[in-house]
């Protein structure tokens, strides 16, 4: 006869094992998706050629090498990094604000970035007067960080609840959208087209240097967030309970907000507005893995990366020869899946 305690241990061990297996499954699916993304494209190279170009890039034709290493690879890897960054950013915004609606998109960070980019695209206004060849991402980044800091500044005021912060974010979205429309109203046709295209989000903007920066930020951010895993899990019980466990909610909020703003801003400024991942990635991970940050954090990163990687494959296969902007693809394909997940669950999802 097993004691109650032993049964509890067993249950816990089984739970941990199950969650570890789920994470491993996610990782395997991600690897597979990455391989498919690298193998597919309008230049119909055989699988053997692709593998050869991957392993011995010096021995294949210039064109094959360029297609694989300069066109497909940055896009495929950027999908993983941006997907993970946006999803993690969304997850921690939801956690620290204790609100299921929080994400880089709903808090106005994406809209801010879009406004910064539009200023550059339509009028050539540089908010950061260095490195004009990077004027668009720099502008986007500056506006995104400014937005995040505004949100934080307001959250410090007395009596501001997390609901207020989300409302504030939505207000910012509206302001930036109006400003964007104003820019488009005065801009040339050519510039309007460029602004619209930018806001649709596109991975084809990816380059190795952008990829390196995004990866660097993600690699720095993940351990910092993981270190706060227990505290963040506790935050989900409410500030008062978290405080009783020794968490300092205000400090934690600032620290996490700075990290995730950086994550979201970098991603959005490089690839444009991709609204859906930051909201849905974490929710999918939470439904499958639960609230424990030890699993939820890597889970959200993996699910975000997987969604964007699948989106990347679809975006170039829908009409072979062109690339449908990824923001459109992820929303159209991902939303029905998300709805299914929400509606098919019996219990509350938040």
């Amino acid at each position: 006869m097993m004691s109650e305690q032993e049964a509890g241990y067993d249950f816990y061990r089984a739970l941990i094992l199950r969650r570890q297996l789920i994470l491993a499954g996610f990782a395997a699916a991600l690897l597979l998706s990455l391989c498919v993304d690298l193998a597919l494209g309008p230049a119909r190279y055989g699988l053997d050629e692709v593998v050869r170009a991957l392993l011995w890039p010096g021995e294949v034709s210039d064109q094959l090498r360029v297609v694989l290493w300069e066109i497909r690879m940055p896009v495929a890897l950027m999908a993983l990094v941006v997907g993970a960054s946006l999803s993690v950013a969304g997850l921690q915004m939801q956690t620290i604000l204790n609100n299921p609606l929080a994400s880089p998109y709903t808090l106005g960070i994406s809209a801010g970035a879009g406004f910064g980019a539009a200023l550059a695209l339509a009028f050539g206004v540089a908010l950061v007067p260095i490195a004009v060849e990077y004027i668009i991402p720099l502008n986007a980044f500056a506006m995104a960080m400014l937005t995040a800091m505004a949100i934080y500044g307001l959250s410090l005021r007395r009596g501001v609840s997390s609901e207020t912060i989300v409302l504030l974010g939505i207000a910012l979205v509206f302001i930036f959208n109006a400003l964007m429309s104003l820019i488009q109203f005065f801009a040339s046709q050519q510039a309007v087209a460029a602004v619209v295209f930018w806001t649709l989000g596109s991975l084809t903007k990816a380059t190795w240097s952008k990829l390196a920066i995004s990866t660097g930020v993600l690699v720095l951010a993940l351990p910092l967030l993981a270190r706060q895993g227990w505290a963040l899990t506790a935050m989900r019980l409410g500030d008062a309970k978290a405080e009783s466990m020794g968490v300092k909610p205000r400090r934690l909020r600032l620290e996490v907000l700075i990290i995730v703003s950086l994550l979201a801003s970098i991603s959005v400024s490089f690839v444009g507005t991709i609204g859906f991942i930051g909201l849905v990635g974490p929710h999918i991970a939470r439904m499958i893995l639960g609230e424990d940050q030890r699993f939820l954090l890597p889970g959200a990163a993996l699910s975000g990366a997987l969604i964007l990687s699948l989106g990347s494959i679809l975006s170039k296969m829908i009409i072979p020869g062109t690339v449908i902007p990824i923001g459109i693809v992820t929303a159209i394909v991902g939303i029905p899946f998300f709805l299914y997940l929400i509606l098919s669950r019996k219990g509350a999802t938040w």
Partner: protein
């Protein structure tokens, strides 16, 4: 002094005949609508500033004589041409300007206060115009809308639009003269190709190449894509893009391996300062343009393609895409694609001749450049 009525009437009649008094004329516009206008119209609103491309060819001495208001897009989209017109006809700067019908910012009250005989509208503004009910409102005021087009389908609609405008302002002879000229210039390409045996080179049209990092905007089977086909080439985006405008996967360009690349460019310093666009247009600096064109060959999507290896890499004025002077672009492309067939064709002479014979402004070179130029 008062004249007795029996004397006054014949006087009025005489003055009105002398002034070419308007008579009702029935025309079919580009949208296929039957419109009755008082022609020749004396007061016209240009719903699209670039309609001056057409009007200028009909009335080179005073292209703005009948214009009482216009949309300000010429200044935004084609500042070089605007500057040339403004220099010669400074009165255009004082003309009231409008927002676009398409974006719903056309002010119908302002339009009515200008008491126009008619409003010339571009075809693509039709849906927005009717949606906002401007057509009904203007009809109540007795102001007809006439639709013309030289952008959605320049090859088929430009000539018809010219004919309509000729009728509206009572310059049908001039319009027919221009139309005959266009037919004659197009025939210099199509007649030769109809007789000749030739291979169609694969062409990639790089729409506004270098304007943004994003590669590669292009044309589907319309517009420049169609110019390429008429000029005896194969547009590599044809059959891939479902509409006139679109974006190709950079990989697709490497896979298609085009024999020639045609970059469209304009003076976009105001929009993308220091950008990689190629600044073509009247009076452009060809040396700078060529250097920037050279730089565009180094983009990832151009790796190892035949056009870069052989130097068949060209840039042409972007505004030929919505311009009734498109036949010059067709000639230029034809000569790039088949230099041996068009040895005696000189597109630059055509463009100069067009200015000398029809246009209010003087010709300035700078509309194209090629890496194959010596």
């Amino acid at each position: 002094m008062r004249l007795p009525l029996p004397l006054l009437l014949p006087c009025m009649l005489l003055t009105s005949i002398a002034a070419g008094h308007a008579a009702s004329v029935e025309i079919t516009d580009i949208a296929g609508r039957q419109v009755t206008v008082e022609a020749p119209a004396k007061r016209i609103i240009l719903g699209e500033g670039r309609q001056i491309y057409l009007l200028g060819a009909l009335e080179r001495e005073a292209p703005f004589a009948r214009v009482v208001g216009w949309r300000q897009d010429l200044l935004q989209a084609d500042p070089d041409t605007y500057a040339m017109y403004a220099e010669k006809f400074p009165e255009l700067k004082a003309l009231p300007t409008f927002g676009g019908f398409k974006d719903g910012t056309f002010d119908v009250e302002q339009a009515a206060s200008l008491k126009p005989d008619l409003v010339l509208m571009n075809l693509e503004a039709r849906a927005a115009t009717e949606d906002a009910g401007y057509d009904d409102k203007l009809a109540h005021l007795g102001i007809p809308i006439v639709y013309v087009d030289f952008r959605d389908d320049p090859l088929n609609h430009s000539i018809q639009s010219m004919r309509i405008m000729g009728k509206v302002i009572g310059k049908e002879d001039k319009a027919e003269e221009y139309i005959a000229y266009v037919h004659q210039q197009m025939a210099r390409v199509t007649d030769v190709l109809a007789m000749a045996k030739f291979d169609r080179p694969k062409v990639f049209v790089d729409r506004a190449g270098g304007y943004s990092d994003t590669c590669c905007m292009t044309f589907g089977n319309g517009n420049f894509g169609e110019y390429v086909e008429i000029a005896g080439g194969t547009n590599i985006a044809n059959g891939i893009l479902p509409s006139t405008f679109g974006v190709l996967n950079p990989e697709q360009i490497i896979a298609a391996n085009p024999d020639q690349v045609i970059v469209t460019g304009g003076q976009w310093e105001a929009y993308v300062p220091g950008g990689n666009w190629v600044g073509m247009g009247p009076g452009s600096n060809l040396k700078i343009a060529r250097a920037k064109l050279e730089k565009l060959t180094q983009r990832t999507a151009m790796t190892g393609i035949a056009a870069v290896k052989t130097g068949q890499f060209h840039a042409i004025w972007h505004q030929f895409y919505d311009n009734p002077y498109y036949f010059v672009a067709v000639q230029r492309v034809a000569k790039w694609l088949h230099p041996d067939l068009f040895d005696d064709l000189d597109p630059e002479a055509t463009l100069k001749d067009l200015h000398d014979r029809f246009l209010p402004i003087a010709y300035k070179p700078g509309y194209w450049v090629s890496l194959s130029d010596q």
